[in-house]
């Protein structure tokens, strides 16, 4: 009796009207779990309707998440700390429900700088780079300009840590600046910057264009460091915890799919279609294959083992923010790290029977002293 389902006496059969979950991302290879979850229908399978939007800058993505124009986002870990602390004038509470990846950024140098360094095999040592910067200073040459993607980014803090390990003061011996990832290769070619630390595929793209050389990956600085996170607006989680859990489950399922070597070619095709239509497929595939300029990376971009958000790992970034004077005094560790929660991940993982990932190696010492 098909008419029965239409009868007002059986309202329980009516599906609730789902509000669309709006997720923003910045086009980078490590947005893959979100793009894959949508392309493979993983969001649909957990009963979610998702609108993914590519954002033109981290600031725009952050503002939209803070102001309620987005419900969730592919976010830089230190941005969640910056939001909790109200840095740059924007304060909002977000919930880090899952990690989206580990590693996956490169430090890429201009050809002329790579030539000046002489022959080196990646990863380039901090000591060799420090020596070059000091030689240049002694010769009275201009300081180098290196771009990162955002002030409050893993890129900025990992790069600073590496520079300091080479005996350099990143605020005095070099000029650090910000360039949006899609523009880094062009600025390197124009000579506006001498190098950059940015997420893939932009290092591989610069190398493919012949405008730069990949010197190391951020996984060489802190192996398996947490990279982007899936962050929800806190009031979205409070209002609709089931959808937050469902969305997190879809992302964990996507990370699981991305771990299968057999799926990597398709993953690269999805990224090309959804985020980088103008790039060669090989340039996008390199990060998935764990390669940089044809050489295997010691700590390549990975997804599945990075999904559990770990506050003690995020704490390393918090300490670096204090080290470089980016966080005003009076912000407690607990307030700054409050966004990192494991309850949503655990609820989602239980649904998928996903085991807890193995504990990652500890972060590097807060300060590496120059030998």
């Amino acid at each position: 009796m098909p008419l029965d389902t239409e009868a007002p006496s059986r309202p329980t059969l009516r599906r609730p009207v789902l509000r669309t979950l709006r997720i923003g991302f910045v086009p980078l290879t490590d947005a893959a779990p979100l793009l894959v979850a949508q392309e493979l229908g993983l969001f649909d399978s957990v009963g979610l309707r998702v609108a993914l939007s590519a954002e033109s800058s981290w600031a725009a993505l952050r503002d939209k998440l803070a102001f309620g124009a987005l419900d969730a986002a592919h976010l830089l870990g230190p941005m969640a700390i910056a939001l909790a602390a109200g840095l740059a004038g924007v304060k909002a509470q977000v919930v880090v429900a899952a990690g989206l990846g580990a590693n996956g950024n490169t430090v890429t140098l201009s050809n002329s700088l790579a030539e000046e360094l002489g022959r080196f095999t990646p990863p380039l040592s901090a000591a060799a780079f420090g020596a070059l910067v000091r030689r240049r200073a002694q010769a009275g040459r201009r300081p180098l300009t290196i771009a990162v993607v955002f002030p409050y980014s893993s890129h900025n803090y990992l790069l600073r840590h590496w520079l300091a390990a080479g005996g350099l003061d990143p605020d005095r011996d070099l000029r650090l600046t910000v360039v949006p990832p899609p523009m880094v290769a062009q600025r390197l070619a124009e000579g506006v910057i001498d190098g950059f630390c940015a997420g893939e595929p932009w290092g591989s793209q610069a190398a493919a264009l012949g405008v730069g050389r990949i010197a190391l990956s951020t996984g060489d600085i802190w192996p398996n460091h947490p990279e982007k996170v899936l962050a929800f607006a806190a009031d979205y989680v409070a209002r609709d915890p089931d959808s937050a859990t469902a969305g997190t489950a879809a992302v964990i399922a996507a990370a699981r799919w991305l771990e299968e070597p057999a799926n990597l070619a398709e993953a690269a095709a999805i990224l090309r279609r959804r985020a980088f239509p103008r790039l060669e497929r090989g340039v996008i595939a390199a990060a998935f294959e764990g390669m940089a300029e044809g050489l295997p990376l010691a700590a390549p971009l990975s997804f599945r083992n990075a999904t559990l958000p770990r506050r003690e790992q995020a704490a390393w970034f918090l300490r670096q923010m204090r080290r470089w004077g980016h966080l005003p005094a009076g912000i407690s560790d607990s307030a700054a790290l409050a966004p990192w929660r494991q309850d949503i991940w655990r609820a989602a993982a239980t649904r998928l029977r996903e085991p807890e990932p193995p504990a990652p190696p500890p972060p590097p010492a807060d300060r590496l002293e120059h030998a």
Binding site: E55, S56, S57, W58, A59, A60, D63, A66, F67, G68, A69, G86, L87, A88, G89, V90, K91, A92, V149, F150, P151, Y152, N156, L176, T177, V178, V179, P180, P182, M183, R187, E190, V192, H326, P328, A329, G330
Partner: protein, 206 residues
């Protein structure tokens, strides 16, 4: 259409001074329209930065009092890096967006953004919004400085307390006696009490 009226006093008269505005917009047509709107209400658009290679230098050279920038402009991360990475004096940034829901604008203001302009807003309303943005920004900066000062005061008191404890133990003094001794040492040396406290603690550690 303006959604910011809740916090804006429309009866307030605009000042006659020229506001120096730097406009950042990578869409040339829109930039021209926004510039016309700003100029019509007595702002001086000192520069338009559109996809410029050296944005930070551009901002510094312009001497602008306020930056007007599209919410989705790709230059935004670079603009934000100026105060965070280069310790430039922070400047108010007025964001404009093609569309935004009223509750989003409310949330933006609550989160600390100085002002939020929606495209298509009547030109005569633009200048008051920018003025409010500057006022809010300055009030926010002043509050931050006050907080920093208050925190420093607290730190200084802690130093003095610890130095007093050292003197009490070293010379078997009561608390008021220790404080008098500290003050006398400061007067004798022409230093602040907190400086003497720091030197006492320094010699203690050594």
């Amino acid at each position: 259409m303006i959604h910011a009226s809740a916090w804006m006093d429309p009866s307030r008269k605009t000042q006659e001074t020229q506001l120096r505005v730097l406009l950042v917009d990578s869409d040339p047509d829109r930039a021209a329209a926004v510039e016309a709107g700003l100029t019509a209400t007595g702002c001086t658009v000192v520069a338009i930065a559109a996809g410029t290679k050296e944005l930070t230098r551009h901002v510094r050279d312009s001497g602008a009092e306020v930056i007007v920038c599209g919410l989705d402009d790709p230059s935004r991360d670079e603009l934000e890096s100026m105060s965070a990475l280069h310790r430039d004096e922070p400047r108010p940034v007025v964001l404009f967006a093609e569309k935004a829901e009223p509750e989003q604008i409310e949330a933006a203001l609550a989160a600390g953004v100085s002002a939020y302009v929606v495209e298509g807003m009547a030109p005569q309303r633009v200048r008051p919004v920018i003025e409010v943005a500057i006022r809010r920004f300055r009030a926010h900066q002043a509050l931050r400085e006050e907080l920093a000062e208050a925190r420093q005061g607290l730190e200084e008191r802690k130093l003095v307390d610890r130095a007093k404890a050292v003197l009490m133990q070293r010379h078997r003094l009561s608390e008021p006696e220790a404080y008098r001794k500290l003050r006398r040492m400061a007067m004798d040396r022409g230093l602040k009490v907190v400086a003497v406290a720091a030197s006492i603690l320094g010699s203690q550690d050594a």
